[in-house]
Structure formats: C-alpha cells, structure tokens
C-alpha cells in the first residue's frame, strides 16, 4: 500500500470528502490558491474549484461564524485556522455558538463543522506558533477534540470528524507532518517512509472518534499520550526497556475511558504526557479519572510529564518540550517507587 506523510494524508482526506460530499467546503487563510502554509490543502482548489476550497479574510472569529451559519443550513464546512494559537480570537464562537447551538435550539439547528488547526511545538515557532490548547476545548460541553498521531489515523479521524454532526476541533501535531518525531531533535530525523502508520488506503475510510489505540501493549505501566507525544513516549519506553503499555488517545472528547481504565487496572502505574503546560492541562482530567476509577489498583502515584508553566519560549525549545529524557525519568520513577 502507498505511504503518505501526515500532511498528504490530511490532504487526501479532504480530497476524498470534497469528491464524495458536495456539502463539504474548505476555507481559511491561504488555503485556496496557495494550498495552505503547511500545504494541507495543496491542489484542492485546482481539482475541486474555487467555490469548494477558498481563501478567507484574516478574521478567525468570522471564519468560525461563517462555518456555523453554513453548517446550520446543512453544509459540512471544514475551516482551517492557520495555527492553533490563532483559534483564540474565535474561542467565543466555538464555545458560545458552535458548542451550544444544538442544545439551546432544542435540536433545530446544529453546527457540523470540523475546525482543522496545526498545533504544538518543536519547530522553533516561538510563543505564538507552538501552543497546545486542547485542555480548554476539552472543558467545553458540546465540543469534540481529536488529535491524530499517524497519517493513517489522520485521514481516518478527519473523515470521521467531517461526517460527525457535532463541532469537532481537529488538532494536527505539526511536528508530525513530515515524520514520526520522537523528541530526539539532535539525531537524524525519521520520515514517515517505512512507518506502518504511514500506509494510507485510497478512498474513504474512518477511524471512529472516541476509540484509543494501544500502540504498544505492555504490562508494567500505562502511558497515556496523544499527538507528537505518542512518538516521544514510544522512544522513552524503548530506551528504558520498561514494558509499558502506550495508549494513543486519538480523541480526548469523546474519551475512550474503557481502554484507559482497563490498562491502568492492569498495570497499576500510570504516566501521562502532553506538550501543553501542566497546570490545568488535560493531564489533570486524565489523572483524576484514573484515580477515581482505579484507586485501589494503583501502586504508585500517577505522574504527569508536560510543558512547564511558562509561555512557550523560543530559545529554550528543547528545554520546554517534554522530550524522551523527561518521559524516561518519569517511567523509571514509577517503576522504582515499588
């Protein structure tokens, strides 16, 4: 089967959806003629026409408002926000409108929109091209939040998101666009070539929202991660030799609580990894859910490895980024404290 990198897999999902569903429209800053600053929409305008894939003004709130209004009439808009850092101007539209429309209207209107946005660090993008905002979305009732970690999942999850009748925030770990980056920035960088997750079927298929993937089965400790951190975690597991079970959440809302609880009950140890700053991050929710549901099976405290509680700092990229070294230390700690 053909291999694609993650940008191409996303492009392919959009291409497929434009072809199969005339209600799908793609728009955002520079996504039309230019094909997007990360090339995710490359060629789509040429293939499907200017009315299916087009540029928008630099107005994130307006982009989402437009998408909601279109969605309310029956379209399935897939707006892009150029960087997840720039979702914030549209936060009110997402929370007060997209997330609440179905509920408050008694089901008369809803917003079947999928907001794509590259997120996360590791690219020396500085404060406003590196942040990971998933925790603030996870708290919003009525929103779904999806984060792929491989090209295969990226395509399947994106199609599932577009077909879903709820508003979905689809965060793309931009550090994974070109390869399964494991945090070893100082080593030879791997591309997606040869990676099993890069085998992307043609045509339409879905990866269901709300189903985690056990990307490495293991017995000793459960590692919960998503996005880039899945690969960082795998590297850390490899390097420590600990028999960890690495769970890729794939979507944080809906959350696959069954898989999480089953794994934690099996291992009795848990490390949660995310790029976002720690305090108030999504790791807190994961940690409390496990604590609530697996308390008597836990051998040691659940650990969180995350970004520091500082803004994302340009020069200190690799000090801030929760790399394999920090994950490995946490793994060793939870195994030590026996």
């Amino acid at each position: 089967m053909r291999e694609l990198n993650m940008v191409k897999a996303i492009n392919d999902a959009l291409d497929v959806m434009l072809a199969v569903d005339p209600d799908v429209l793609i728009f955002g800053q520079d996504v039309g003629y230019f094909g997007g600053v990360f090339r995710a929409t490359d060629g789509l305008q040429a293939r499907h026409g200017q009315k299916r894939c087009f540029d928008t003004p630099i107005a994130e709130s307006g982009i989402i408002a437009t998408a909601i209004g279109m969605g309310a009439q029956g379209l399935r808009p897939v707006p892009e926000i150029q960087f997840a850092d720039y979702i914030l101007p549209a936060f009110d539209q997402l929370v007060s409108e997209a997330a609440r429309l179905r509920y408050r209207s008694g089901g008369e209107f809803w917003a079947p929109i999928t907001v794509r946005s590259p997120y996360g660090g590791g690219i020396f993008g500085g404060q406003t091209h590196s942040q990971s905002p998933e925790a603030i979305f996870a708290h919003i009732t009525g929103l779904k939040t999806v984060i792929p970690s491989t090209p295969y999942d990226a395509k399947g999850l994106l199609i599932a998101a577009i077909e879903c009748d709820d508003p979905v925030i689809y965060l793309e770990p931009k550090r994974l666009y070109n390869g399964p980056f494991d945090g070893h920035h100082d080593r030879q960088l791997a591309t997606w070539a040869g990676h099993p997750g890069a085998r992307v079927p043609e045509g339409r298929y879905t990866v269901p929202l709300g189903k985690a993937a056990i990307v490495r089965p293991g017995d000793d400790v459960t590692v919960l991660a998503y996005g880039t951190m899945v690969h960082v975690a795998l590297a850390a597991v490899e390097e420590t030799g600990i028999d960890a079970e690495v769970v890729d959440l794939r979507s944080i809302v809906p959350l696959d609580i069954e898989t999480i609880v089953a794994s934690a009950n099996k291992t009795g140890r848990c490390v949660i990894v995310h790029e976002a700053s720690r305090f108030g991050g999504f790791g807190g929710e994961l940690s409390s859910l496990i604590q609530e549901r697996c308390f008597y099976g836990l051998e040691v405290p659940i650990e969180r490895v995350a970004g520091w509680d500082t803004p994302y700092p340009h020069a200190f990229e690799w000090d801030y980024f929760p790399g394999p070294g920090r994950v490995a230390s946490a793994l060793r700690r939870v195994m030590e404290n026996d």
């Binding site: 429209l25 009315k51 928008t56 003004p57 107005a59 709130s61 307006g62 408002a65 437009t66 998408a67 909601i68 209004g69 279109m70 969605g71 309310a72 009439q73 029956g74 379209l75 808009p77 101007p89 009110d92 539209q93 007060s96 409108e97 609440r100 429309l101 179905r102 509920y103 408050r104 209207s105 008694g106 089901g107 008369e108 209107f109 809803w110 009732t141 009525g142 779904k144 879903c164 009748d165 709820d166 709300g210 809302v253 809906p254 959350l255 609580i257």
Partner: protein, 409 residues
C-alpha cells in the same frame, strides 16, 4: 511642546440624564419623502450619500409620500398592524406575568414593533432571520403559536426548547427564526455564512441579521461585514438603533460625527438609514435590499432609527439613567399609531375596528397564557430531567450517560 494645551480625556455623555429635561434636539428629523431611491442594482460607490439621510415614507398626516413609498395593499398593512399590536399586547401581558413571579425574565420590543413585523411580511418563507431579542414581531407576523411562546417562557413540560434556554430566546426554524442566545453579536456572522450557503447551494434563502446599535461595537459585527462584502453574500444586515443599550446611549458605540449606516461605506456596501417607526419605510428598504441580494449584488446594511420606549428588560428601571419622560419627546412617534393613522387616512381602518382588534388580541394572549399556565409556570412544570442530558451532542457519550444515571434522570 511647552506651549501645547494639555491632552484631555474625553468621556461622552448622553444629552440628558434623570432630573434633566429630555431632549432630542441633536437629532435632525427630515421631512418624509425627500430621500432619493437609487436603482437597487446600482453600484454601492454611487450611494455614499444615503447613510447620512433618513428614509421616511409616512408624513405627519399619515400619508405615504416620496420614491420609497412601497405601495402596499391595505390587506398587507392590516396584517402588519395586527402583528405589531399583537407584539405589544403580548409583551405587556408577559411583562406582568414576570412581575407575578411566574417566570425568570422578560424583554419587551415596545416602540420597535414595525421592524420585525414589516421585514417578516416582506421577506419570503424560505428566508431566515437571525434575530435579537427585540424583534419578536417577526414571529408574531408569521403566526408562531402564542402558546408555544408561553410554554417556552415558562420553561414548562411543553417548552419547545426543552427547558434549556432563558425565556424569549426562541428558536423557530419553520418560521425563519434562527436560535437566539443571551450573548450579543455572535449570530451576525452566522447570517453571512447562511447566506453564503444559500448562494453555494442555490437555495434562494436570504439571510436577515439583526443587531442592536450598542452591539455593533463587538468585533463580530465588523468581521461579518467583511465576509459579506468579500463573498457578496445575499444578506440584509440590520442595525436597530433604539438609542439605548441598557443605560448607555447610542453615542457610546462610536458614531459621533457619523451614522451607523455609514459603516457600510468602508466595506463598499450600500448603507440605508431608515425611520424604524415607519412601517412603510421599513418594508420598502427591506424590499430594495432583498431585490439587490437576490440579483447577486450582495449585502445591504440598514440602520433602523427607532427608540426603545420601555426598559431594557425586567431587570432594569430606565428612570435611573434617562429622563422619565424621554419617550414622550421621541420625535418619530409610535409605529403602531402611525400605521393605524395611515390606514385610517386610506379609509381602510377606523377606531372601532382598532378597538375590536385590540380586544381580540388580548383575548388570544389570555387564552394562550391560560393554556400555558395549565401546564405550569417556571418551576411548577418542566420537561423530563433527561432533557438536561440530551442535545449536548447528536449522541450522548459515556459521561452524559453516567451522569444521567447519577442524577436519577
């Protein structure tokens, strides 16, 4: 630098506050019939004068004059009058119902009934309005069942919105009325997106958006105008300038030396400034804008100049921030009275018929209220508790299923 006068910090104030005498002397109210009516398909660049005029059709004697006279049939006018009167009667009654503690909140449209009513009747069934809480006459004009309004206002077991929404924040898709919400300004852009979808899908459903003049200050207003301009969306974008935003006067929204309609100029859109208390002027401007939109010439911005004759809501007392008699000084009169006089001048109406209609509508409202109260007022009846957990998503996830059990629903 030394010789300069110091900088001054300017904080604007309305012409009069309580204790001062009410004044609208700062408003220039031109005669009816004087404003030119350009072809609806003309270029926006040729209409930059219009936002500084005031389109009026009904003159002081109740006659329709000038190029904007829409020449509406008497039957149409009577439907408009009925919708406005029903709105007024319903509002007065439900406001009292709130005072009796039967619901949590209410807001009146008093003095602004012409806007929603005329637009509702001029536009077509497939068109969609993106309302504010101040255009309930839209629903009354389209015959939305009063009893369903009452159920919603009571959040009772028959509430079409399943107890989830504050009173009067209706949603009525079949009546061309988009879901309201308490936060201001955000739906203006939905209207533009809706209109773009109409164009894309060729559904011929215009979008009509409303905002209060105070709420134009929100960034969403600007982003909506930008999108409407860029994609030539078939939308009619309305500002109901009722002079007040709770306790803040219209000057606080930034139109000193300008008008709200003039915002259109910078986006290359036509901007009309219309007497919002003149049913005929509202209908006529709306028809013009609809013709333009349906001809693929894009959106029009319309400022309706009107006055919020009542308090902001059940939560405030307007005499705390404006002269108690300000409403009496309002120079554009009452929209119901003016349409009534016009119909009488046309010999299509009389005081007796008006009194009869009023009694009929009062009876209708009373009957609807009785029916609603029979089901239950706020807290005495509500939809099943399971409704709290429905509609968050298309399908509930495990959290909602677990919590529903925990809540005993």
């Amino acid at each position: 630098m030394a010789n300069r006068p110091p900088l001054e910090f300017h904080v604007p104030e309305p012409p009069a506050r309580p204790g001062q005498s009410a004044s609208f002397s700062h408003l220039v109210v031109p005669e009816a019939g004087l404003v030119r009516r350009p072809d609806a398909l003309a270029s926006a660049a040729e209409m930059r004068d219009l936002p500084f005029e005031l389109i009026r059709v009904l003159d002081g004697e109740g006659r329709a004059v000038g190029p904007w006279d829409p020449h509406l049939a008497p039957e149409f006018l009577r439907r408009g009058l009925r919708a406005m009167l029903l709105t007024r009667v319903f509002d007065d009654r439900l406001f009292r119902v709130h005072r009796q503690g039967k619901t949590s909140f209410y807001m009146k449209s008093t003095g602004e009934e012409a806007i929603g009513a005329a637009q509702s009747l001029v536009l077509e069934p497939q068109d969609m309005c993106f309302p504010t809480y101040r255009v309930m006459s839209w629903l009354h004009a389209r015959g939305y069942p009063l009893v369903d309004m009452v159920h919603q206002i009571f959040s009772n077991a028959r509430d079409p919105l399943r107890g989830r929404q504050l009173p009067i924040l209706f949603s009525a898709r079949d009546y061309g009325f988009y879901s309201l919400s308490g936060n201001l300004g955000t739906r203006y852009g939905h209207a533009v997106g809706w209109a773009m979808a109409s164009a894309y899908r060729q559904t011929d459903s215009l979008a009509l958006a409303y905002t209060g003049e105070g709420s134009t200050a929100e960034g969403d207003f600007h982003e909506s105008l930008t999108f409407a301009s860029v994609y030539r969306a078939p939308a009619i974008l309305c500002i109901t300038n009722n002079q007040w935003a709770i306790s803040s006067f219209a000057g606080l929204a930034g139109t000193r030396d300008s008008t709200f309609a003039a915002r259109a100029i910078g986006y290359g859109l036509p901007g009309l400034r219309v007497d919002g208390n003149d049913f005929l002027a509202v209908a006529s401007a709306t028809r013009w804008a609809a013709e333009r939109a349906r001809a693929n010439k894009g959106a029009t911005l319309i400022e309706f100049f009107t006055y919020r004759a009542a308090g902001h809501s059940t939560s405030d007392d307007p005499t705390r921030y404006r002269p108690g008699d300000e409403a009496e000084h309002w120079p554009l009169g009452d929209p119901i009275e003016r349409l009534k006089q016009h119909l009488i001048a046309l010999d299509e109406w009389d005081e007796d018929r008006h009194a009869a209609l009023t009694s009929e509508l009062e009876a209708e409202v009373r009957a609807a209220l009785r029916e609603g109260e029979a089901i239950g007022t706020l807290g005495r009846s509500k939809p099943p508790l399971s409704e709290m957990f429905e509609g968050v998503f298309a399908e509930p996830d495990w959290r909602l299923i677990e919590q529903r059990v925990e809540a005993g629903a």
